[in-house]
């Protein structure tokens, strides 16, 4: 559509000059020379003039509208593809990327890719015009046409040169935009720390450095572009001058008439505007190529191959699942292993506490068991199946992990609990009651429909944790992992939660625990130390293990 519009425009533009010429020859000049023409002739002339301009305008509107639509469609399709990719790629991929950079792809890179699409139809129209003009030039005079054939290809040569020169600084600008976004994102994310540490000055320096680096590269690109644009402006003018000179010789030689020369000169002038637009188009290409490359680096990222779909009812049902961990090792990137040769099992329906000192790898183990990160070596089987064989959907339906740091979304409390919208309101309320947060929620102005701020900032840490706990309980998971999920809850409430869990729990449960009462919930205790399971057994048995005893009885010994 936009191309049709562009062609209409190109055609109408050339037609306009024809009509103008025609009107001049048949109406204006004769009127002055021979007296007035008949009213009808004048009316026709006026109508033809108005008609051709309106025709051209229609072409413009169609072209611009559809060029815009094409550009928007391109952008929206990139946004959707990025979204799919971001949701598809594994957690480990996200952990290695800065949120600010990923946002810059969504924002700046997508816009840059779409930028040349606006002038594209007109540029193609301009090419059409140029071809058309070249043809009509050939009809007038071969030598004069040669001028055009020399001048216009230089545009392309010029563009290649420009592209080469601008590519590197242009990539630097894109990277700079990403870097600025990353600094701003992190800085606003850590606003509380920035305030309490009085870091605003340092953050200023950090951001200013990024902004000025970006400015430097922008100026570098701008300087190159200034030369390119100015040259682009000059080329048609030079063409006209050359045409006049060459034309004078041809005229002298009797090859062309004066009218021919005027026509050629006017043609060159008319071509200036589409050539300008073509220049815009060419200018937009190098950044678009860079942006495309940046986007492709994300979009071509290999998503984890979908797990084989296991047919049968193995994963259906609501019975607790058995968990077996065999020779499991795990390390982040190239850092030393956090977990080494971990072996243990959880019987179906068993409640087991995982105890270990700060930084011993408890949370890492919890993430592995939930299937969020794959083990480096060894295996985890849940319900007699390798965890890696589970499809993400069956896995998340059966296994629930409550994080130590509850991440709430800027949505209603109710939808924060019922994350996938599959539970009924009664289930949500029941889960919230066990998590001891129902009373608080019903006291909110809009109850379960109250919106919590982004990341749940409007709630206290303890409240957030309890909402997150309810989020897991509402799913009736067959394997529940609680990663120190009540650490910010005060003791009285924690006791109520634990009582509720004790009464409710009929699933296989692993509780990462710090306090004796929490440990007391468990049938069995795993003691994690130095990346290994050092001991396992009942709490009382483990009290004979020195490291374990020191760890869990620290509060008692402190006051006795």
């Amino acid at each position: 559509m936009s191309l049709t519009g562009a062609m209409v425009y190109a055609l109408a533009s050339v037609l306009t000059t024809e009509v103008l010429g025609g009107v001049t020859d048949s109406v204006i000049l004769p009127t002055f020379e021979d007296g007035p023409r008949s009213g009808r002739v004048i009316m026709w002339a006026a109508l033809a003039l108005a008609g051709v301009v309106v025709f051209r305008s229609a072409g413009v509107v169609v072209r611009r509208y559809y060029a815009g639509v094409t550009s928007e469609q391109t952008q929206v399709s990139f946004h959707r593809r990025l979204l799919d990719k971001y949701l598809e790629l594994p957690l480990s991929w996200h952990q290695r990327r800065q949120t600010g950079q990923l946002l810059a792809h969504v924002d700046n890179d997508v816009e840059k890719v779409a930028e040349p699409l606006h002038p594209l139809p007109l540029s193609l129209g301009a090419v059409g015009m140029a071809v058309f003009s070249a043809a009509s030039l050939l009809l007038v005079d071969v030598i004069l046409a040669a001028v055009a054939f020399v001048i216009f290809p230089t545009l392309f040569g010029l563009n290649r040169l420009y592209s080469n020169m601008v590519e590197e600084p242009s990539a630097a600008v894109q990277a700079g935009v990403g870097a600025t976004s990353a600094v701003a994102h992190e800085s606003f994310d850590g606003a509380l720390i920035v305030k309490t540490l009085g870091r605003a000055g340092h953050e200023h320096t950090r951001f200013a450095a990024a902004a000025y680096a970006l400015r430097r590269d922008q100026i570098k690109v701008g300087y190159i572009r200034a030369v390119f644009e100015s040259t682009l402006d000059a080329i048609p003018s030079i063409g006209v001058i050359v045409v006049v000179l060459v034309g004078a010789y041809r005229l002298d030689a009797g090859a062309i008439t004066r009218g021919d020369l005027v026509q050629v000169a006017v043609l060159f002038t008319i071509l200036a505007f589409p050539m300008r637009v073509f220049g815009y188009f060419l200018e937009g290409i190098p950044p678009a190529v860079v942006a495309r490359r940046r986007l492709d680096s994300v979009l071509t990222e290999q998503s984890p191959s979908p797990a084989p779909l296991i047919v049968g009812n193995l994963f259906n049902g609501d019975k607790p699942l058995k968990v077996v961990v065999d020779d499991l090792s795990f390390g982040y990137g190239d850092q030393p292993a956090v977990l080494r040769d971990v072996n243990f099992h959880l019987d179906a329906g068993e409640v087991v506490a995982l105890v270990g000192s700060t930084g011993s790898g408890k949370s890492t183990l919890a993430m592995l068991l939930a299937g969020l990160v794959p083990p480096s070596t060894g295996s985890i089987s849940v319900g007699d199946r390798e965890l890696s064989d589970w499809t993400p959907t069956t896995r998340t339906e059966a296994v629930a992990l409550v994080f130590q740091e509850a991440f709430l979304f800027g949505a209603s409390v109710g939808s924060n609990i019922d994350m996938d919208g599959s539970a009924g309101h009664d289930d949500v309320v029941r889960a919230a009651s066990v998590a001891q947060i129902d009373d608080f929620i019903t006291g909110l102005p809009m109850g379960y429909d109250t919106i919590v701020g982004e990341r749940g900032v409007t709630l206290s840490g303890g409240q957030r944790q309890r909402v997150a706990l309810a989020r897991a309980l509402v799913r009736n998971p067959r394997f529940l992992i609680l990663d120190d999920a009540t650490s910010a809850v005060d003791p009285k409430v924690e006791q109520l939660i634990l009582d509720g869990l004790r009464a409710e729990l009929s699933t296989t449960t692993l509780i990462v625990a710090q306090r004796v009462a929490t440990i007391g919930l468990a049938d069995r205790v795993l003691y994690l130390s130095g990346g290994r399971i050092q001991a396992q057994g009942s709490h009382t048995d483990l009290l004979d293990v020195p490291g374990y005893r020191d760890l869990v009885t620290a509060y008692e010994t402190a006051t006795t």
């Binding site: 000049l29 301009v53 929206v76 979204l83 309490t196 100026i219 002298d252 840490g461 910010a488």
Partner: protein, 613 residues
């Protein structure tokens, strides 16, 4: 926050420009915040005039050459033609140089102005209070200093030059026209005059749409940002589909508004074209009709018709550029909304200084109400002598964290007063307050850097290790901070040069808290506020830390908000909060004996932490 606000309009309400957006207003306000735009403007404009002159001179010169140098077919005055061509070539070269020069100046000015605008906006955002920041979506704030600034850059690159040149071209063409016939020129001006009001009214609607568009872009980025930040939770709960739907909705909303804006984009441009149709017809008819009265000849009329077609380009380009200007204006409005928003916790100009050493606190009839209307604290009065070790306990939502936040001035009380060392807290100099009063929040947020950088953030040490000796000194400082807290064993496993990852996510939650404590310790403040600062560390380390902090608290006032009552057991003074009120205050043993709220909390604590053998 306003609970009725839907998630996607929450941001728009906050950092928005009051009243109707008007271009003139925007420019005035914009110049007020970016004065550097005005610097060196006149030479740039002069260069612009040179470019225009050169551009207009070429067709004139050509016309002269053909008219004057070529008498008829086969009779060419070559000397004259060469002279004219040389003059035209000079004009072209002159325009080429002036064009490069003008645009370089423009690029440099605008890039500088935008960089400074970004930085100013960034600083301003950090100056807002936490409650203001918590009410806005972070993604939207980020887009103020990124996406919105990018829009300005785009305008500066593509539109600004044309924006300043084209009006001059317009005037130039009109002047040329008037040389042939001033009457017809007046007529042309009269015909084009209605373009202005039509433009204006379209423009106003357009600005509204573009403003909405910027808002939608912010919404979309916020959704993306949340989806990225919550990557772990989304994957653990298989909520991909829900977030897919939510973000897709915001993508589609942006798309919808952009398409709406596109209609203006397509329509505006053509306005000039349509008017030119009228102009052609009117000039033709009136020119023919009045040719004797106005003394026109055929050449004049043809020349004017030709000049009308020359008017076309500047008007088209201007309407194109105006469109870009609207987009830029919408972004500018969003940025100005941040820059002009008053800061609710403003720092005193000549604030008083806090002496080093322990700080005494006097709190009198303190009330605090959140903007949404929740009263968090009511009539709190307490006096804390310098050097006291205070524990603040209470249920979640009892107001204890709010109390701690007010003490380090993350917000100002709604009523009542807080005095530190006898001075009103809000009268204390910002720098002095920050170095004397330190809070360690529960969320151990770390910056994506090394452990050493994060620990040293609390001190005055510059963050870049430039020399070897310097690096050693930094390491020694970090080690010492961990050592006094009894944590040097941890540093043996994690060297100071280890990177902590985004938000500190390479470390466990408990470990992040250890780093945050070391950071606070290094600053050696006169008042140290710990807001559940050890909630995620194991009991053994917690005990060790409590003891270490206890030892270190001689010479400083310490206030710990804690639900682990082991902290309270060791404190000189325990403050118990319940539903926003200070209900009990005293020593641990007195309060246990008193049989109130505290003794109940304590019973629960004992039950949760004692081994049932």
């Amino acid at each position: 926050m306003d609970p009725s606000g839907s998630a996607d309009s929450g941001e728009a309400a906050l950092f928005d420009v009051p009243g109707e957006l008007r271009t003139v207003d925007l420019i005035r306000r914009g110049l007020a915040v970016s004065p550097e735009i005005k610097q060196g403007l006149i030479p740039t404009v002069m260069l612009g005039v040179a470019v225009v002159a050169s551009r207009l001179s070429v067709p004139v010169v050509v016309e002269r050459a053909i008219d004057g140098g070529i008498a008829g077919d086969r009779s060419v005055d070559f000397d004259y033609i060469f002279g004219i061509a040389a003059a035209a070539a000079v004009a072209v070269v002159f325009g080429w140089v002036a064009g490069i020069w003008a645009e370089r100046r423009l690029v440099e000015r605008s890039a500088t102005a935008i960089a400074n605008l970004r930085i100013r906006t960034f600083d301003r955002i950090h100056a807002f209070s936490m409650s203001d920041l918590n009410e806005s979506r972070r993604g939207a704030l980020v887009s103020r200093v990124t996406s919105d600034a990018e829009q300005l850059t785009r305008f500066a690159q593509w539109g600004l030059f044309a924006f300043s040149i084209e009006p001059m071209v317009l005037v130039g063409v009109l002047v040329a026209m008037s040389l042939y016939s001033w009457q017809l020129t007046v007529l042309v001006i009269l015909i084009y005059l209605p373009v202005w009001p039509v433009f204006r009214s379209l423009q106003r609607q357009q600005l509204k749409v573009y403003d909405e568009m910027r808002g939608r872009v912010g919404d979309m980025l916020s959704s993306f940002s949340e989806t990225l930040g919550g990557a772990a939770a989304i994957r653990a709960y298989g909520a991909e589909r829900r977030f897919d739907a939510q973000v897709r909705h915001d993508i589609d909303e942006r798309y919808r508004v952009r398409l709406k804006a596109n209609r203006y984009f397509a329509g505006m441009f053509v306005m000039g074209d349509l008017f030119s149709a009228v102009a052609y017809v009117v000039i033709l008819l009136v020119g023919l009709w009045q040719r004797h009265t106005w003394g026109l000849d055929g050449g004049d009329l043809v020349a004017i018709m030709f000049l009308v077609s020359l008017l076309q380009q500047p008007i088209s380009e201007l309407s194109e550029v105006l469109d870009q200007a609207q987009i830029a204006a919408a972004s500018w409005g969003k940025i100005l909304g941040v820059l002009e928003r008053p800061i609710d916790v403003s720092e005193p100009v000549d604030g008083c200084l806090l002496e080093p050493g322990p700080i005494s606190i006097e709190v009198q009839d303190l009330d605090f109400t959140y903007r949404g209307g929740d009263q968090a604290l009511r009539g709190v009065t307490v006096s804390i002598p310098a050097g006291t070790n205070v524990a603040v306990v209470g249920q979640t939502g009892s107001g204890k964290t709010t109390f701690a936040k007010l003490l380090c001035r993350l917000a100002d009380p709604t009523a009542g007063s807080i005095k530190v060392n006898g001075a009103e807290l809000r009268e204390v100099d910002a720098e002095s307050r920050i170095s004397a009063i330190r809070m360690v929040p529960q969320d151990g947020f770390l910056f994506d850097s090394t452990i050493a950088d994060n620990v040293l953030m609390g001190s005055d040490e510059p963050s870049e290790a430039s020399t070897n000796g310097h690096r050693h000194r930094r390491d020694a400082q970090v080690r010492e901070a961990f050592e006094v807290l009894g944590l040097s064993w941890w540093l043996d496993r994690h060297p100071p040069t280890e990177s902590v990852g985004q938000r500190g996510e390479n470390l466990s939650v408990g470990e992040r808290q250890l780093v945050a404590l070391a950071r606070a310790q290094l600053a050696d403040p006169g008042l140290l506020i710990l807001d559940e600062a050890t909630s995620a560390v194991d009991p053994e380390i917690d005990e060790a830390l409590t003891n270490a902090l206890q030892r270190l608290s001689t010479g400083r006032t310490m206030l710990s908000v804690a639900h682990r009552l082991s902290t309270a057991e060791a404190a000189d003074l325990v403050l118990v909060f319940d539903q926003g009120q200070l209900v009990e205050a005293g020593s641990h043993s007195d309060l246990v004996a008193g049989g109130g709220v505290y003794s109940e909390l304590h019973r629960a604590w004992i039950g949760n932490t004692r081994t049932a053998r």
